[in-house]
Symmetry: C2
Subunit: 222 residues, 2 copies
DNA sequence: AAGAAAAATGAGACTAATCCCATAAATGAG
DNA sequence: CTCATTTATGGGATTAGTCTCATTTTTCTT
């Protein structure tokens, strides 16, 4: 069914014990199935079929679908927010950090739309992961405010507004064109209080310095 | 289960033929059930139980759950967007219209959080209703741009961003405090390119002129 | 109030999913 | 290679839902 299938978890465990490999196969299949039908509509057998495992195998690993979703979402959180945060360790300027993080997340979604879509659904359903999920974002907002760049109060609604803008981009344009990414980054900055022109400049600058289309490195240099 | 239950459809049909009344009972119950468990998880029997009807009765009215959702969503569209648009017929100023519409929608959600939540889910699932659902919003955006108040391009992503901000407010604060409403209105205006201070003034002005807490226009008495 | 039409009922046939578990297969340590 | 341990299997009991339809109940008309 899926034309592109990138096996986030399986790749991390290719040489390891069988137990780990099977678990990863279940996690990767869950991402595919959740992304295509949504969590509610996904059936255990959809996932085991996709992983080419017997139905019963699922129950050697998880009690039920909820437990699986928790595992999937936590894994995606590490992969998405953790990785992006590592890439940004040299950036000190608040607006640059927020722009970079937003754009990078959407760039990843261009290659792997399933990851972001399942992640966002998971964060919404598995409420105990929400705080952790938005922790990095809050930090960057605080930095920008501290520096006097953002004109806003950091609260839970603001954080959710930003996540909502990201989700809107994903829903409307899963292929994630540059135009969509730029419009979304500008929207986030406007929300934080930057005037339109300044927001546009900030986004253009981040794209030029870090995200020009020919270099897609995992290590952000200067 | 629901402590407050306001019977949008039933009230419109109280004196009429039995067929209309039963259909309204199904629609109102569907709103309650969809709002509490989500559309996917809702079972036909949940809805008929809530309406105190037999399971089979459902099938005298609808072929399946999807057909019911279409009916519910279309009804909510009339009730929500239609009514608000009527209230605004005298307003010519683009930013005022957008602010008023946003604030009014959220004020309705304060009394009836279920309506907005089901409406937003429905518009997302029943794609053929989307165009109609956002038609009024698009018009107001065009007006504001024509007048030189908004610095943005009207496209589908923008419209979805605005809907997403509304959805974020509903998810985070279903009780819909004034603070949430104000923050959401300001967010919408910022998104459209107003600088923070101007956005805040615009929102304050609309609240003062049209939405002061002691007068709730139309027919709103308990 | 009777009779016809409209509406509601709920038992039951189907379909589909979860989850268990006795058995089979695969793995890997000595 | 052998055998104990780990892992996978898939049949089937169980639960849960959809949808039908012959029957009952309610409503409407005269």
């Amino acid at each position: 069914m899926s034309s592109t299938n990138h096996h986030l978890f399986r790749e991390q465990t290719s040489g390891r014990k069988k137990r780990e490999r099977t678990r990863s196969a279940l996690l990767d299949s869950a991402i595919s199935v959740f992304a295509s039908k949504g969590f509610e509509a996904a059936r255990i057998t959809d996932i085991t079929n996709h992983a080419e495992l017997a139905n019963g195998t699922f129950y050697n690993y998880y009690k039920d679908k909820d437990e699986l979703l928790r595992d999937v979402t936590a894994g995606l959180a590490v992969e998405l927010t953790g990785r992006i945060n590592d890439e940004m360790e040299n950036l000190a300027h608040g607006p640059t950090r927020v722009t970079f993080a937003t754009a990078r997340l959407l760039q990843i979604a261009r290659r792997e739309p399933e990851w972001l879509s399942v992640y966002l659904e998971g964060v919404f359903i598995v409420t105990e992961l929400q705080a952790a999920a938005v922790q990095y974002l809050r930090q960057d907002l605080e930095i920008g405010i501290e520096q006097g760049h953002f004109d806003t109060e950091v609260n839970l609604l603001l954080v959710n507004q930003i996540l909502s803008l990201i989700r809107a981009a994903l829903l409307l344009d899963p292929a994630m064109s540059d135009h969509t990414i730029i419009q979304t980054c500008e929207a986030v900055l406007r929300l934080l209080g930057l005037p339109p022109r300044k927001a546009a400049k900030q986004v253009a600058s981040v794209f030029e310095r870090f995200l020009s289309s020919d270099e897609h490195t995992t290590d952000a240099q200067g």
